[in-house]
C-alpha cells in the first residue's frame, strides 16, 4: 500500500482519446490515494510510472459483443483491487465498471460525463445514472434537481 489504510482505494476507468485526456486533467484530485487505472491501450501505462495500470477490451456500441471479454476483465480487476471508489469519464467500459463495482463490491461510484456532451448527456451517461452515487455533467445548463450535478469542468 502506498497510502495509509484509512484512505479509500480508488479505481479510475477511462476509454481512449478524449475520455483519457479529460481524466488526466483531474489527476491532482487522486494524489495521495492508492490509485489504479484502467483504459483500453497498453501504452497509456507510460504516463503513469509506478501506478498499477490495466488494459481492457475497447467496447463501444459498434461492438457490443466485446462485453463478454470486458466484463470478466473488469470483474478480475475489481476483485484484485477491491476499490472503495470507482471514478470514470466514460464511455462504455466505464459504465460497465461502475455497474459491476456497485453490484459486486458496493463501491462508491462517480460518473463524469465528457465535456463533449454539451447539449445532452451521452447515451452511456444516461445509463450510468442507476449505478452512480455522483452523476456529473460538465455543463451547468444540463444540471438540475432531477438531473445530473455540476461540480465543474476539465477546461
Amino acid at each position: 500500500m502506498e497510502a495509509p489504510e484509512t484512505k479509500p482505494r480508488l479505481l479510475i476507468v477511462a476509454s481512449g482519446g478524449g475520455h483519457w485526456v479529460q481524466m488526466g486533467r483531474l489527476r491532482p484530485a487522486f494524489e495521495g490515494f492508492d490509485t489504479a487505472y484502467v483504459s483500453v491501450h497498453q501504452d497509456y501505462a507510460d504516463e503513469l510510472p509506478g501506478r498499477r495500470y490495466y488494459t481492457v477490451a475497447d467496447m463501444t456500441r459498434f461492438n457490443f459483443q466485446k462485453i463478454f471479454v470486458l466484463a470478466p476483465q473488469l470483474i478480475r480487476i475489481l476483485l484484485i483491487e477491491r476499490p472503495k471508489v470507482v471514478i470514470t469519464t466514460g464511455a462504455a467500459p466505464g459504465l460497465v465498471a461502475i455497474a459491476l463495482a456497485k453490484i459486486l463490491l458496493g463501491a462508491k461510484t462517480i460518473w463524469i460525463d465528457s465535456i463533449a456532451n454539451c447539449e445532452r448527456m451521452s447515451s452511456s451517461g444516461m445509463q450510468a445514472r442507476r449505478f452512480a452515487d455522483q452523476w456529473l455533467t460538465q455543463w451547468p445548463e444540463l444540471s438540475g434537481a432531477d438531473g445530473p450535478k455540476y461540480w465543474g469542468a476539465v477546461l
Binding site: 482519446g17 484530485a29 454539451c118 469542468a153
Partner: protein, 159 residues
C-alpha cells in the same frame, strides 16, 4: 509540420482525403496524419494508423498546426501543448460518428482561443491559411480548474 489527426476510435476518411488533396498546395509545409481505421490511405503525406501516446505528443510538439476532428482528445492535447488547432466536426448523417455531438462541440469550441473551426470541408483551406498567417494558441494549465479538483477530492476524502 502540419499534423492531421482523426482520433483513435472511428475512421474519418472525409478529413483525411481533403487534407491529402490540399497537402501538395502547401509545398513549404510537411504533413503527417494519424488515420486510425480509415479505408482511404493518403498519397501525399506520410501517415500512421495509430500513434502511441508518446509519439502523439511528439507529433503535436513538432507541429506548427494541428488539423483534427472535433474530438476532445485532439483539442485538449493541442491546447495543453499550446498549439493552434483547426477542427472539422464529424457528421452523424454521413456515418462519421454515433451522434451529432461533434457539431455542437465545434460550436462551443469556436469561442476558445487557439481553436479554429471549419464546419465544412470547403472552409478548411481558408481556415488553415488564416491560422498560418497569424498563428495564436491557447495557453491552458495542464490540470482542470481547482474548483472541480477540490470538490472531487473532498467527496473522496470524506468517504
Amino acid at each position: 509540420m502540419i499534423f492531421v489527426t482523426i482520433g483513435s476510435l472511428l475512421p474519418f476518411d472525409r478529413l483525411v482525403r481533403v487534407m491529402d488533396d490540399l497537402a501538395p498546395s502547401f509545398p513549404q509545409e510537411q504533413f503527417f496524419a494519424q488515420i486510425a481505421e480509415g479505408k482511404y490511405e493518403p498519397r501525399n503525406m506520410p501517415f500512421a494508423r495509430m500513434l502511441s501516446r508518446r509519439e502523439f505528443a511528439e507529433k503535436i510538439d513538432q507541429a506548427k498546426l494541428i488539423v483534427a476532428h472535433a474530438g476532445m482528445g485532439s483539442v485538449i492535447s493541442a491546447m495543453q501543448q499550446k498549439k493552434p488547432i483547426v477542427i472539422l466536426p464529424r457528421k452523424y448523417e454521413q456515418g462519421e460518428h454515433t451522434t451529432d455531438h461533434q457539431m455542437a462541440t465545434a460550436r462551443w469550441l469556436h469561442a476558445k482561443p487557439g481553436v479554429y473551426v471549419a464546419m465544412e470541408d470547403a472552409d478548411l483551406r481558408t481556415t488553415i491559411d488564416a491560422v498560418l498567417a497569424a498563428p495564436s494558441a491557447a495557453a491552458i494549465p495542464p490540470t482542470a480548474p481547482s474548483e472541480f479538483i477540490d470538490k472531487l477530492r473532498a467527496y473522496i476524502s470524506d468517504l
